[in-house]
């Protein structure tokens, strides 16, 4: 009896494969009614908050601009689980299974870099929203981004430390397994050494791993070096705990970070300890730059009832840049779209005017913000070096 059942089940399975296989072939001939734009972002894991904020921006843009060249745009959102391997899997899925026309993502340069070779080999134009490591787009003609890159961000923070805080000695804490953190720390180091003219301006570098929760040993080591300022680029998850533990250890000097700190979780977890922390980011709601910014702010506040984060505006912009390129290309051919994206110049996005340089990076101003009274407060805007 059992054997017959198994045989029957096997037979049914084989039949099912045939049926679905056939229907797939038939579907291929029909022209698709919608065009698909893939979005791969961390929706779970350590960077989930970052991914969620970018997706909000992309979804808002999709709601406001749902059509291009008479076709409906459908978003295919996949989770890269805050993991490099999963990021590559997610990109492969978008390319092979969903056959998307273009891709948006990802929060976290490491994840974008993991997807880089996949989008390049399959020739799918991809626009990153907030991945700032230069290597994301370098040597990859299919990867673009609507944000500035880390050499600029590192210089901005080094200038801030040197000019505004009067710092002459820095200690650095970096997330050793994170390309974004290591890259930004390096660009800061170069810029700070150039500013001070002192090869020994960086007193010490402490490392930690993704997911670490105890930084007391590293911070105790740095404390005895007596730096003027600590630069600690890294994800908000680890950074919030890191700043908290630094304060608990009696470290009172300013602690600086990068754009990834701008997440509500940074404030929730760090609470009073993160007060006064300063970081650079892309956009501020206090100073809307373009007409699109006004529209974005108004619609976002209406839809979500809160203030948007910088990366939300960038997610919004990434979508607009792709749509604009499709319009200019006048077709859904991926290579044509790629060429159109590469030509993007003076495009008014929500987070500023977007002009892509020869690497596919946006040249834009940076904003410096500080944590004050449990919120992010705008300090100043730094223009790009032309």
């Amino acid at each position: 009896m059992k054997k017959t059942c198994t045989l029957l089940a096997c037979g049914l399975l084989i039949l099912a494969v045939f049926i679905t296989g056939c229907s797939k072939d038939e579907g291929k001939e029909a022209e698709p009614e919608v065009i698909k734009i893939g979005v791969f972002e961390p929706m779970t894991g350590a960077n989930a908050a970052g991914g969620a904020m970018e997706i909000e921006g992309v979804e808002l843009a999709n709601k406001l601009y749902p059509e291009v060249l008479g076709k409906k745009v459908e978003l295919v959102i996949v989770d890269n689980k805050s993991d490099k391997v999963e990021a590559a899997n997610a990109a492969t899925r978008l390319v092979d299974k969903d056959k998307v026309t273009a891709i948006i993502g990802s929060w976290g340069s490491s994840f974008s870099m993991a997807a880089g070779p996949i989008v390049q080999n399959s020739q799918v134009p991809t626009v990153g929203a907030s991945c700032t490591n230069p290597l994301v787009t370098k040597g990859n003609e299919y990867y673009f981004r609507v944000c500035f890159i880390d050499p600029f961000q590192g210089t901005v923070m080094a200038n801030y430390a040197y000019n505004e805080l009067g710092a002459r000695k820095t200690a650095i804490v970096q997330e050793i397994s994170n390309d974004y953190s290591v890259g930004l720390a390096k660009f800061y180091t170069d810029a700070f050494k150039a500013l001070t003219g002192d090869e020994k301006a960086i007193l010490g570098v402490a490392n930690y791993n993704t997911g670490d929760q105890d930084f007391t040993a590293q911070l105790t080591n740095l404390k005895q070096l007596n730096p003027d300022v600590i630069f600690a680029p890294g994800n908000y998850t680890e950074s919030a705990l890191l700043v908290k533990q630094a304060r608990e250890l009696g470290i009172t000097i300013p602690i600086l970070g990068g754009d990834t700190w701008e997440a509500p979780e940074f404030l929730d977890i760090g609470k009073a300890a993160v007060e006064g922390s300063v970081f650079s980011t892309f956009f501020t709601t206090e100073v809307p730059i373009t007409q699109e910014s006004e529209k974005f702010l108004e619609e976002y506040r209406k839809a979500y009832g809160k203030e948007p984060a910088s990366v939300t505006a960038l997610g919004y912009d990434a979508y607009l840049v792709i749509l604009d390129a499709i319009k200019r290309a006048g077709s859904f051919d991926r290579v044509a779209i790629r060429d159109a994206i590469a030509e993007t110049s003076d495009f008014p996005g929500a987070a500023g005017i977007i002009s892509l340089d020869e690497n596919g990076d946006a040249v834009k101003s940076a904003v410096i913000k500080q944590v004050k009274d449990g919120g992010f407060v705008y300090l100043t805007t730094v223009e790009p070096i032309k």
């Binding site: 961390p42 929706m43 779970t44 894991g45 350590a46 989930a48 908050a49 969620a52 050793i176 397994s177 010490g204 402490a206 490392n207 930690y208 791993n209 997911g211 670490d212 929760q213 105890d214 007391t216 040993a217 590293q218 105790t220 080591n221 404390k223 005895q224 998850t237 919030a240 705990l241 908290k244 304060r247 608990e248 250890l249 009696g250 979780e265 929730d268 977890i269 609470k271």
Partner: protein
């Protein structure tokens, strides 16, 4: 390195080590009695922390009550896991139960991602646990004093239960030979449920203490502490409760001291913990305190 800095490192090490010890106790106790490595222990630890979070933020319980209720709920959760994932496999080879434990671990993690969401949550820390105490140049958070005390209290309670009570005697009997224990009219299922209950209770206490020290909750937060405490348990001699405490302290101390004295090796911190595991397994497979069969409970 100045003596003050050394004491600061030592304080950091004791606080980390006692956390490891606290979680490792539950781990090793379940192994000692069932000869089962409960891979879901780290996830039960995570569940305990999340329960506390929701009891405080959603049900607005005062933290003292929330801690006890959360530990109680986690205790029941642990018993339920045993019922569903381990009990049906009681008469199968050990390897089946171990694989089932790995499955249970993944299941709980992914369930937590779906239910609690992937974004980190801030664990509510009452002021008295977050106070910074300055002893000369050494700064210590008050929870750092509390964790070792809690660890020692639970160590003694557990040793008392196992060595002095009737239930404890039954547990030891099940540990030695559960077929024989069954013949002696010991309700083996009940004893194993109690064991899991106590183990999960300890995991919850560990989770709460972890949350007080590192106030950030993530569905995968139990993964690394779970593995580290497994190492601590093996180093001390798996199955031996005093050994787990010793192993926890050794692991915490060596993790901090390797960064303190060899800052360039910081990136290898986790690797070091696993190297320690491999060395112990090669040199002294039964662990530091694990040689005597009689000690095992």
């Amino acid at each position: 390195m100045s003596i003050q800095i050394f004491f600061q490192h030592l304080a950091n090490a004791i606080s980390l080590g006692s956390l490891y010890a606290l979680i490792a106790i539950g781990y090793t106790m379940v192994y000692g009695i069932l000869r089962l490595i409960n891979f879901a222990h780290g996830d039960i630890f995570m569940i305990g922390a999340y329960f506390t979070f929701y009891l405080v933020t959603m049900f607005l319980m005062p933290w003292g009550v929330a801690f006890i209720v959360a530990a109680g709920l986690t205790c029941m959760f642990g018993i339920a896991v045993e019922r569903v994932a381990y009990r049906p496999l009681r008469d199968y080879p050990r390897i089946s139960v171990m694989i089932s434990a790995i499955g249970a671990s993944f299941f709980i993690e992914n369930l937590a991602i779906v239910i609690f969401g992937g974004r980190p949550k801030a664990f509510p820390v009452p002021d008295i646990f977050g106070k910074v105490i300055h002893l000369g140049t050494v700064s210590i958070v008050s929870v750092t004093f509390i964790i070792p005390i809690i660890t020692l209290i639970f160590l003694f309670i557990l040793l008392f239960i196992i060595n002095k009570t009737k239930t404890g005697m039954a547990m030891r009997a099940v540990s030695t030979d559960y077929e024989a224990a069954r013949l002696m009219a010991i309700d083996v299922n009940k004893i194993i449920s109690i064991t899991f209950g106590i183990g999960s209770f300890l995991a919850a206490v560990g989770g709460i203490m972890w949350g007080l020290k590192y106030p950030q909750l993530l569905p995968l937060m139990g993964l690394m502490p779970g593995l580290k405490c497994f190492i601590a348990a093996v180093v001390g001699g798996i199955g031996n409760i005093k050994g787990a405490v010793l192993g926890g302290f050794i692991l915490g101390l060596s993790e901090i001291m390797i960064i303190a004295f060899l800052p360039s090796l910081t990136g290898y911190r986790d690797a070091f913990a696993f190297i320690l595991l491999i060395i112990i397994l090669l040199v002294r497979p039964s662990g530091l305190l694990g040689q005597s069969q009689m000690e095992k409970v």
